[in-house]
Symmetry: C2
Subunit: 422 residues, 2 copies
């Protein structure tokens, strides 16, 4: 396409967008507000608000405990099977359960217990801190005998695939990485890393929080061992909605969660005194699931399946290419640098813009410009391009409003001192 | 009171019941249906349905990610502080987090890591199986060197306090019990057991799932170490609502959760690469909480605080005494035996009726008599008396309908073969 930086050009892209109508499937109370944080908390699908009302009034209020026998009990597996369709997983390998951190713990502990003689864990400094903390905790629980090697990005944005491969050796139990990393949006070559790790006898755990619903994920094709990810980002599952987890079929017999609970037991309602893990992915469940949050995520997942991950990815690439073109034309001259790799195959669906005054710019965008991006230390303004509802005109608008924050010196009205969230 | 078994007597008790009006604060779609399962899934408070609508439309739909800074982030601690008022805990010791099983795991692992040289765990066969499974999993993770001693009830209903004390020795790391047990409703003397365990250098973990909201719990007075419990039973928090956990102030500096996640970190939004646990109870949080489920439980907790645990307990005792009087008069002659201790100080708020044909009777109650009790293997019909909304007339009705199932031989219409839930 021949690019120009006018708003009319953005509108012409929107007119050609085959997914454009999906925006109308979401609750949008303020059409002027530019929401660029769908990679942190996805928007509310209209179907979800109806569904929640039904769950509350009919399933809880009216049917009460009987609802456990009318869909609640199976919900973690049933919704998991739907998510499987978004991550390239065949039946029986995905379930919804607990938070991403708890799932990371269950899966990493499983892996480490499967490779007890190996004492090295490989991750990187680009990984989400909760993932790193969890690995440190696993090492602590297992007696502190593991070394956690944190690879560093040479250019600040990415760790080369070869650097990861070089680190994997015969002492490596586990490689645990975010497929798409949370700051720069860098996307790893998951298949190459997984295959090489297997050659060396190591297991691999992928955090798909910033991948699922935005980029094609092919867990079975990668021959991935373990994976988990958030459902409240691109899947629009609702705030803090439980995560999903994946364990490869071939590992399910030997792999064991460290947390043994009744939802993972062979026959939960027999109330046997000794634990016998269920067959299949169910053994990775543990306690009673938060039904309301599990069921409320389903309409968001359904929307994703309806739109299709390939069209979503195609639009996501178009959106980010367009954003980068506008960046080159209008933002680079204002002191911004790109915090995301330019290569399409090396990035997910969010783009980071770096600027020495990013913290103040971010606050001005929120408080004066009706834009919601998010800020990640030390200097990243992160723009989440959620292809389900982000329009090309949104992208044009956000760049235009960023320009105005700089040229009108609005960011200087805000102190650089960080506000504490707590 | 001079007891008689007429329905008029039940109605006269309801007229004297100072908590009677709380029933109107719940959504009750079928006034003829007798709900005796409030100890498994509490009813829907009317305030909850309004609140959920606000969370969905306003907090998620409209405010989006900004809501994290407007109450969501603090919700696990804020709601925890409210629950603290129901379990006799001073500030800073209770939080809402994860499922009961995951919390049991975090707390038991903490305890076992605090007593690494001790290799005995004491529990009983009355404990909820998920609690037992979790203990078995902890032992597995820690290398299989622990012995789990499961005490057995001499009379099928209860394990004498002295039996527990006798089992605690200098090799005991942890005593993990349900305060009120799930089948018989037997209630332990928690203070005596905790104090004796401390004398022997052991730690104690109380599962309060069947206690909180129905019996007075005095964690600080007991000098309890660790506790957790469900919020979806007597607290009416909603299906699978996250559990709460308690860690005694004096233990919080040394105790560490095995699951290290960003919500338990000192400064979650600094994104430091190394984990430093937060001060206080926050260090026992791990991943992003299921906001919808956390916030939806709050109106139920508020109702409990408003009614007061002492009046609730007084009514619960009245209800169960009344049920036992009707049992003696009308059900014992029909082949039932009481599966719950008669001593008031030894029981919670549910009553088990045992019968050789209990499974079939239970099905007939559900399918023909518009009663919802629940069945627990091998022969328990469990009647949950939730003092917030169970009326004396409900109790009269359920006994009357049980009688009819027997005298009209309705239970014979149902096979004794168990239906599988899965």
């Amino acid at each position: 396409m021949s690019f120009d930086s006018s708003p009319d050009f953005a509108k012409s892209l929107d007119r050609q967008d085959k997914l454009a109508s999906y925006r109308d499937r979401f609750f949008i109370s303020d059409q002027d507000m530019i929401y660029m944080d769908g990679n942190s908390l996805g928007r509310l699908p209209l179907a979800t608000s109806q569904r929640v009302n039904e769950i509350i009034m009919k399933e809880w209020g009216e049917n009460l405990i009987r609802s456990w026998g009318q869909g609640w009990f199976e919900a973690p597996i049933r919704v998991g099977e739907k998510i499987a369709g978004l991550v390239g997983a065949d039946h029986g390998q995905v379930a919804v359960s607990d938070s991403t951190t708890v799932n990371l713990y269950k899966l990493a502990m499983s892996a480490l217990m499967l490779r007890p003689e190996r004492k090295k864990i490989i991750t990187d400094t680009l990984n989400f801190p909760s993932d790193l903390y969890m690995l440190q905790g696993c090492s602590h629980v297992l007696g502190g005998k593991h070394t956690i090697q944190m690879l560093e990005p040479a250019d600040g944005l990415r760790v080369d695939t070869q650097t990861v491969l070089d680190a994997i050796d015969s002492n490596t139990a586990l490689v645990a990485l975010s497929h798409v990393v949370f700051k720069s949006g860098y996307m790893y070559d998951a298949k190459t890393i997984t295959q090489y790790a297997h050659q060396k006898g190591a297991l691999v755990l992928w955090d798909l929080s910033h991948s699922v619903g935005s980029v094609p994920v092919e867990l079975d094709d990668w021959n991935a061992d373990f994976a988990t990810g958030c459902t409240y980002k691109y899947l629009n599952g609702g705030p803090g909605a439980p995560a999903f987890l994946y364990v490869r079929n071939g590992l399910q017999k030997e792999a064991l969660s460290p947390i043994w609970g009744w939802f993972g037991e062979r026959a939960p309602f027999s109330f046997e005194l000794g634990y016998t893990p269920a067959q299949g992915i169910q053994r990775f469940l543990c306690g009673t699931p938060p039904v309301l949050s599990v069921l409320a995520m389903e309409p968001g997942v359904d929307l994703m399946l309806e739109a299709g991950i390939q069209p979503l990815r195609a639009k996501s690439i178009q959106l980010s290419n367009y954003l980068m073109a506008l960046f080159d034309a209008n933002l680079a001259p204002l002191g911004f640098s790109l915090g995301t790799p330019r290569e399409v195959e090396q990035r997910g669906s969010h783009v980071s813009l770096r600027h020495p005054d990013a913290y103040q710019i971010n606050r001005a965008l929120i408080e004066e410009m009706n834009v919601i991006p998010d800020f990640r230390e030390p200097d990243n303004i992160r723009l989440g391009l959620a292809p389900m509802y982000t329009s090309f005109h949104d992208v044009w608008e956000v760049v235009n409003r960023i320009e105005r924050v700089i040229t009108e010196k609005r960011y200087l009205r805000f102190p650089a001192t960080r506000l504490s969230v707590t």
